[in-house]
């Protein structure tokens, strides 16, 4: 287990090499370094994970170094491994490695090939810091690091200003959440005096009674950060636009890992949320609202990647929902299975998009199933898992969430079940329109092992990834891992049948795909569709409520009242500096005289004091 430090070290090294060479490496060496460092990291992670599980320990810490020791202040840099960080680490390095391999094929011939991999490696390093850090400071560093990489990679195709806008939007919107999170951390530090996560959690349990306003405030502020990073209501608007980045980026950052950081944060600080039922209800409600809204929106989208983006929001909504209803382990379980099948869906979509020369409109696709066999089968498996059809990985995790929500509140169960139905519907719609019916664009399949191998491996994971459960979580999360409480038979069967009903229903509505192409809708339905299409009008809402007033205020205050205060300080400093500088005459007699005056002043002070 002493190799733990190597896991983040490899991607960091990869980043340093790729960054230092500034794109002078060819594509092959850059691929070898970019994906190879991830491979080594994944190997190390597998080794450490095996050792950790077989050792039977629940926690392993590795202090890399202490920064300084001044009096009692001794900040150290420590990695912390437990069941939760183990799962996250496995997902990040494993899925991350596959996506890196895929990217070596996908990005072939693009400008900035090695820049792309340097950012990707940096991202993985930051993400690993986020989940392995033992104190909030390191976690926050990783948190901001992944945000930065996300910004850089969304705007990767920087010749198009729209991509730059999308990158800025993602950065600014998540910043709102980050600010809340930073405030939460400050409050936690002020109240408990420690940045160490475990110490803070046990301190919180010892200090505050259940439902104390302080702990509620901290939990809600941390939730703010989680909501921003994980694209949940009301900070969800950045994720669909983030699809401007290359598809492997969408798969890695905006599906499998970074956007689930919020789920990790809440699971990591679960003791705080357990102390505040208000905060927990809030988590569940936000999750439910998001999964509902985004599932409806996904039904109306026409851009393949945006469908997947809304679907991601909705699935993360499930995770929040699970955290809120107390199905902690199920949330992390779903995080893992979602990473498998959503990465698979994105990569398969990437292959489709690549074959169609970067065409993303599903209505210009169709009939591709004969020509793009591997992407088709992958997408089929991915969608089955997304819709949670029985025996796929998504079924195990989502089913568990739904069942657990029944004992929390049957109304929540009902809401989540309807959304599960919607998930099946939009999955069928996507498959039907993209792969069946009339072929509208001629595909040119790129046949390369590095494009197909990750799809095959991820397909296996998306199918079988849920069969084994997640034993190490039991020691970390309060619900004691993934167990199957006895539920009424009708509930179990009913819950399991929802996706099947959804798929059958979807088949009748969306097959053959021609039905979706030629539809005469009434004006009312059209405007409803437009409303759903725009993501329930959140962008417009924020533009009117926040952007416009903000711009107006900024325009009104264009001479900046606050700034004049600083200008004043500058003026005073400059004036004083010029005044004192006059004493530096360069004349020896004045210097000597000044020394005598100085001595006299010192002696005068002595006389006055004594």
């Amino acid at each position: 287990m002493d190799l733990l430090w190597l896991i983040p070290a490899f991607p960091l090294l990869g980043f340093v090499i790729l960054f230092a060479t500034q794109g002078r490496l060819g594509e092959l060496p850059a691929s070898l370094i970019g994906a190879g460092s991830m491979g080594l990291s994944a190997l190390a992670a597998a080794f450490v994970g095996y050792e950790f599980v077989s050792s039977g320990e629940t926690v392993f810490t590795q202090t890399l170094w202490s920064w300084m020791q001044v009096g009692g202040f001794n900040p150290s840099f420590t990695l912390y491994l437990d069941g939760l960080s183990l799962v996250m680490m496995g997902v990040i390095t494993g899925v991350g490695f596959l996506i890196h391999v895929y990217a070596t094929g996908y990005m072939k011939g693009e400008d900035g090939f090695s820049r792309f991999f340097s950012y990707m490696n940096l991202f993985v390093f930051a993400m690993l810091m986020l989940v392995l850090g033992d104190n909030l400071l390191v976690l926050y560093l990783g948190w901001e690091g992944v945000g930065l990489c996300s910004y850089l990679l969304i705007g990767f195709y920087h010749h198009d200003p729209a991509n730059g806008y999308a990158a800025r939007k993602a950065f600014v919107v998540t910043r709102v959440g980050d600010t809340a999170m930073a405030l939460g951390m400050f409050l936690l530090f002020k109240e408990l005096g420690t940045m160490d996560i475990q110490a803070a959690l046990s301190g919180a349990q010892a200090t505050w009674p259940e439902g104390s306003p302080v702990v509620t405030a901290i939990a809600l502020l941390l939730l703010g950060g989680a909501v921003g990073k994980s694209a949940q209501l009301p900070l969800q608007t950045w994720l669909p636009d983030a699809m401007a980045g290359p598809t492997p980026v969408s798969a890695l950052i905006h599906a499998a890992t970074m956007v689930t950081a919020g789920v990790y944060l809440i699971a990591r600080t679960h003791d705080l949320f357990l102390l505040s039922s208000t905060a927990q209800l809030m988590v569940a409600s936000i999750g439910l609202a998001t999964l509902f809204i985004s599932a409806f929106t996904a039904l109306t989208q026409t851009d393949l990647k945006r469908i997947l983006a809304y679907s991601t929001m909705s699935q993360i909504g499930y995770m929040f929902f699970a955290l809120g209803v107390g199905a902690w382990s199920a949330a992390i379980f779903h995080l893992m299975t979602h990473a498998f099948f959503k990465a698979l869906l994105f990569l398969a979509a990437g292959s489709v998009i690549l074959a169609l020369h970067h065409e993303q409109d599903i209505f210009k696709m169709g009939g591709l199933w004969r020509r793009l066999r591997i992407p088709f089968v992958s997408m089929l498996i991915g969608s089955a898992a997304l819709a949670a059809l029985p025996l796929t990985s998504g079924y195990y995790s989502k089913d568990l969430i739904l069942l657990k929500s029944w004992s929390f509140n049957p109304l929540f169960w009902a809401g989540a079940s309807v959304a599960a139905l919607l998930t099946a519907l939009y999955s069928v719609r996507m498959i039907s329109i993209v792969f069946f019916g009339e072929m509208r664009t001629e595909p040119h399949e790129h046949k390369a092992w590095n494009l197909s191998l990750p799809l095959i491996v991820l397909s296996v994971l998306a199918l079988a990834g849920g069969w084994f459960g997640l034993a190490p979580l039991a020691a970390v999360l309060p619900d004691g891992g993934i167990d199957h409480d006895p539920y009424a038979a009708w509930l179990v069967w009913g819950t399991a049948s929802i996706p099947i009903i959804g798929v059958v229903l979807g088949f009748f509505i969306f097959y053959p795909p021609a039905k979706s192409h030629e539809r005469n809708l009434s004006a009312g339905v059209k405007s409803l569709q437009g409303f759903l299409f725009s993501g329930w009008g959140f962008d417009t809402l924020y533009r009117t409520l926040i952007e416009r007033p903000f711009n107006a205020i900024a325009h009104w205050n264009r001479n900046d009242i606050v700034d004049s205060l600083f200008t004043l300080i500058v003026t005073i400093a400059t004036w004083t500096s010029n005044l004192i500088a006059r004493s530096q005459t360069g004349q020896l007699r004045w210097y000597a005289a000044n020394m005598v005056i100085g001595t006299v002043i010192v002696l005068m002070i002595a006389v006055v004091v004594s």
Binding site: S577, Q584, A592, N594, M595, A606
Partner: protein, 480 residues
């Protein structure tokens, strides 16, 4: 003298022996390279002897000197700085006229003086060390003969130093009158008598001049500007470091800070240095003068560690913070003047001293510009550089001893300082390129020394533990 005493004195004997050999070599065989190399060998041998011969517990030699881990640490810094100065000076001097060989002898004698001060526990040794150091420095400053600026600087320094030394001697005489002996520890008996207080204050005035504390600071920018860049770096580090080491030991042994008049006077001087030093640097266009003013401020910061001794029951924290700060200050200052020296190699006479000379350095020489950038950030005290660690230690020592007025001055001074340090970095990113400074000639040894220093500034900001542990170890045998 016993064997133990000889052994403890080994560094001083090594460097003096080396000096004698150097004198003979230069007398018979005039070669710049040979003089340079023999100085390096002498100083390297000194470093080795310090590392091997520093005794675990304090060893008093002939009543006048005391050799302990504390002295060893500072001697190591001085000798190392001597090596760096010789390395930087080689290429710098070669482009200039006049006999070059004696320069290295002066560096070695100055280092002897500084080492003596680090070991002094008696006013006679204090004066001896100080004068060996100062007289070597006057000549080193005046070494280049192309322009009259170095000569002017040396003259100013000589005369003002004379004033300071006289004041100091008068103070020592008063102390002798009151106590009857010349050991630092003799003050203990009756520290607050009127003659004592007067003597202490006059002594401290003299020391404050050498440390260029306000209001005895006026010589600093003129001398820094006039002296050749490698020598300025030496003055800024070794001369001040030796004075500070001496002051630290003096304060620890003599308990002088328990006299409230001394404490108040030194606090006032420290606060004034921090504020006025930084304010003066604000509008400065000359990098050497800027660094002079900044050194005034840094000396003010370091006084916090000194003053913390008085208020702390556990003086180790204060001494430790002073030692950490001095190391950081040495690294940063040596690097900054190293960059100036290298850039000055491209000039026929004088130095590349205007900030505008560095405009566009990032595009001409990115590595050198990065080194200077790291140094400037470190001087400003940015986290993840050694400057931050050093300042943090000072702050911790100050907080523990409740020196709030001084800490406020530290905060305000640091805030002001960020502006002028950043200004240097900003200038380096500009696009203008004065042709004459485009490609200074350098040797690989100069370059690698400089890169190593810049790296140390950075690495010790991440990972200062080894140094901190070393200091703790050295201080474990140090009695106060």
């Amino acid at each position: 003298m016993s064997t133990a005493e000889y052994l403890a004195l080994a560094p001083l004997l090594t460097i003096s022996g080396g000096l004698t050999i150097m004198l003979l070599v230069i007398a018979f065989f005039r070669s710049h390279r040979v003089a340079h190399v023999s100085a390096l060998v002498t100083l390297a041998a000194t470093v080795l002897s310090i590392l091997t011969c520093t005794p675990d517990s304090p060893q008093v030699v002939l009543d006048l000197l005391v050799v302990d881990g504390f002295a060893g640490y500072f001697m190591l810094l001085f000798a190392a700085m001597g090596i760096i100065t010789c390395t930087l000076a080689y290429r710098y001097l070669e482009g200039r006229s006049g006999g070059l060989e004696e320069f290295y002898i002066l560096v070695v004698t100055a280092t002897i003086g500084a080492m003596t001060m680090a070991m002094a526990q008696h006013y006679a040794t204090l004066l001896l060390g100080l004068e060996i150091l100062s007289i070597s420095l006057y000549t080193m400053i005046a070494y280049p003969q192309e322009t009259h600026a170095p000569l002017e600087a040396a003259t100013k320094y000589l005369i003002l130093s004379g004033v300071a030394s006289t004041t100091m001697l008068f103070g020592i005489a008063l102390i002798f009158m009151a106590s009857g002996d010349l050991y630092f520890s003799s003050l203990m008996a009756d520290a607050s008598g009127p003659y004592h207080t007067l003597g202490q204050l006059m002594l401290l005035t003299g020391l404050a001049f050498k440390l260029s504390l306000v209001p005895f600071h006026m010589w600093t920018p003129d001398v820094y500007q006039g002296a050749p860049a490698p020598v300025t770096g030496y003055i800024a580090t070794v001369s001040k470091g030796a004075l500070f080491a001496l002051l630290l030991r003096f304060a620890l042994v003599s308990d002088v800070l328990s006299v409230s008049a001394v404490f108040v006077a030194l606090s006032t001087i420290a606060i004034a240095s921090m504020i006025i030093g930084n304010v003066l640097a604000l509008m400065q266009q000359n990098l050497k003068r800027l660094l002079a003013y900044s050194s005034i401020a840094h000396m003010g910061y370091m006084m916090i560690a000194l003053l913390a001794i008085s208020a702390l029951t556990d003086t180790a924290t204060a001494v430790e913070s002073a030692m950490v700060y001095l190391l950081g200050y040495f690294l940063m200052t040596a690097t900054a003047f190293g960059v100036i020296s290298i850039q000055s190699n491209a000039k026929e006479n004088g130095d590349a001293e205007l900030i505008s000379h560095y405009s566009g350095l990032f595009w001409r020489n990115p590595l050198l510009a990065s080194v200077l950038t790291v140094t400037m950030l470190s001087l400003a005290g940015m986290p993840l550089t050694v400057g931050f660690i050093a300042k943090f230690y000072l702050f911790a020592a100050g907080v523990e001893s409740n020196l709030w007025a001084l800490l406020w001055a530290l905060v305000i001074g640091s805030a002001i300082s960020v502006y002028y340090y950043i200004k240097v970095i900003f200038t380096m990113t500009l696009n203008e390129q004065p042709d004459s400074y485009a490609h200074p000639e350098t040797t690989w040894s100069t370059r690698s020394t400089l890169y190593a220093l810049g790296l140390a500034v950075l690495v010790l900001g991440f990972y200062p533990t080894p140094v901190i542990e070393l200091i703790g170890q050295l201080l474990s045998g140090f009695s106060d």
